[in-house]
Amino acid sequence: MSTILNKSGELHIDLSTLRSFSEMKHELEQRLESSKQFAPGTQVRVHVGDRHLSSKQVREIEDILLDYGLHLRDLMGNGPPDEEADPEKEGPFYSMPHYDRTILICRHLRSGQKLFSEGNIVVLGDVNPGADVIAGGNILVMGSLRGMAHAGAFGDESAVISAYRLSPTQLRIANHITRPPDGEVIVVESPELARIRAGKVVIEKLKI
């Protein structure tokens, strides 16, 4: 039968023994109903066994979890991978986590404007000081990032932030918050990428 385990703040729900998708949904709802004590924002990994779920079914599971304030971190199964395996395991984006949803914004984000997405965000424009970009996944700014950017907002430490010109007021990745050093003005005339390495946010030249 399915089980709910709590490992290091993450929730694992095993639905792999169930036959049909409707059974899975029913069981998931019952499980969550019977134990409502989880903190909002808790990451959940759902084990689905041999089953191959369509993206619509994944969305349904996500919605059920969201009703209880939980976020779907991962679907784990033994079935065939639903996306093509990446043939080239090279380049800076290889290790980036996969998010289904990416939103594309084709304008400047100005002071006081806020952009949020559960997936990735791509901005074709500048992000000015006073503007916030918050993504569950990665952030890519094809202009100057001068405002605040928060990637991996649900705790994904492998999320990255890259920009054509990276000069933010603040960078946040998962629960790490950084800002540029006081007093120093570092001008880098090339695209850069920020990510977490060894528990620290580091900024490196973007090599593609």
């Binding site: 304008r107 400047h108 984000l109 100005r110 002071s111 006081g112 404007q113 500048d126 000015n128 000081p129 006073g130 100057s144 001068r146």
Partner: protein, 267 residues
């Protein structure tokens, strides 16, 4: 010519919205356009003072929208130019005394008689701002070369875009060429880089503005005033002429001119 409603705004206070409105209005009237300036800073009216028309106010914008008087009765004709009019703000009410809807009706009414309707916006992003932009076709954003002013201008441009005013143009006010050259002041390019909107003009810092404002005589009336000259050039751009943009080298020319003048005087 189709009449245009232009709102002059900045977000931040004290950057020169009212001075810009008064000078552009006067400069446009000098080009034989029919101009009306509306002061929407209800409760803190200034435009009438800057224009030297304070003592002629009988009715104001709140009286007009509430139907206490006819629009024609509230319009004050300028003492210098026949084509220039002012619709003053009320001093005893606050910004909630009119609504964006009323403002839109008011500007549409004024379109019949005027080529340019300049709306002087109050500082801030609250109801006063929403009233001021309600009937506007175009927006002019005034900012000074300071980080805080540029930040607020950016916010305002975002709000204007959200309200459908996507063609805002920028006036950089109180630029000091010498300080920019020393690297102590933000450059025109730095500001344009952040705000990424079209530049309408640059007005240099000029003491004559203080004098003319206090006297109630817009600086554009003085041929010697550098800021006045800049406003005259902006007004010509607004009526569709192509006028070269100010550059820091103009300062040098001016210095050279002064130097030459001094030499002539010495001789």
């Amino acid at each position: 010519m189709k009449s245009r409603v232009i709102v002059i705004t900045s977000g931040k206070g004290g950057v020169g919205k009212t001075t810009t409105t008064a000078n552009l209005g006067t400069a446009l009237a000098m080009t034989d356009s029919k101009v009306v300036m509306i002061d929407t800073d209800i409760g803190l009216r200034n435009l009438d003072v800057v224009l030297g028309l304070e003592n002629r106010i009988v009715f104001d914008i709140v009286d007009v929208v509430n139907g206490n008087c006819k629009l024609k009765q509230a319009l004050i004709k300028d003492k210098r130019f026949d084509g220039l009019h002012l619709l003053p703000a009320a001093q005893t009410k606050d910004k909630t005394a009119i609504t964006p809807h009323q403002m839109k009706n008011l500007t549409n009414e004024l379109r019949k008689d005027f080529d340019f309707i300049l709306v002087d916006c109050p500082a801030g992003i609250e109801q006063g701002f929403r009233n001021a932009i309600a009937g506007a076709d175009d927006a002019i954003v005034v900012c000074t070369p300071e980080v805080s002013s540029v930040r607020d201008a950016d916010r305002i441009i975002g709000l204007l875009e959200a309200s459908g005013l996507k063609n805002a143009r920028l006036i950089i006010n109180r630029l000091r060429g010498k300080m920019v050259k020393r690297g102590d002041m933000m450059d025109i390019d730095d500001i344009i880089d952040i705000l990424s909107i079209d530049l309408l003009g640059v007005v240099p810092e000029d003491e004559s503005i203080v004098v003319s404002t206090n006297r109630g005589e817009p600086a554009v009336l003085e041929t010697a005033s550098r800021a006045g000259g800049a406003y005259r050039r902006i007004a010509r751009r607004l009526v569709g002429e192509k006028v070269p943009m100010y550059s820091l080298d103009d300062d040098n020319n001016n210095l050279m001119d002064k130097f030459r003048k001094m030499l002539k005087l010495a001789r």
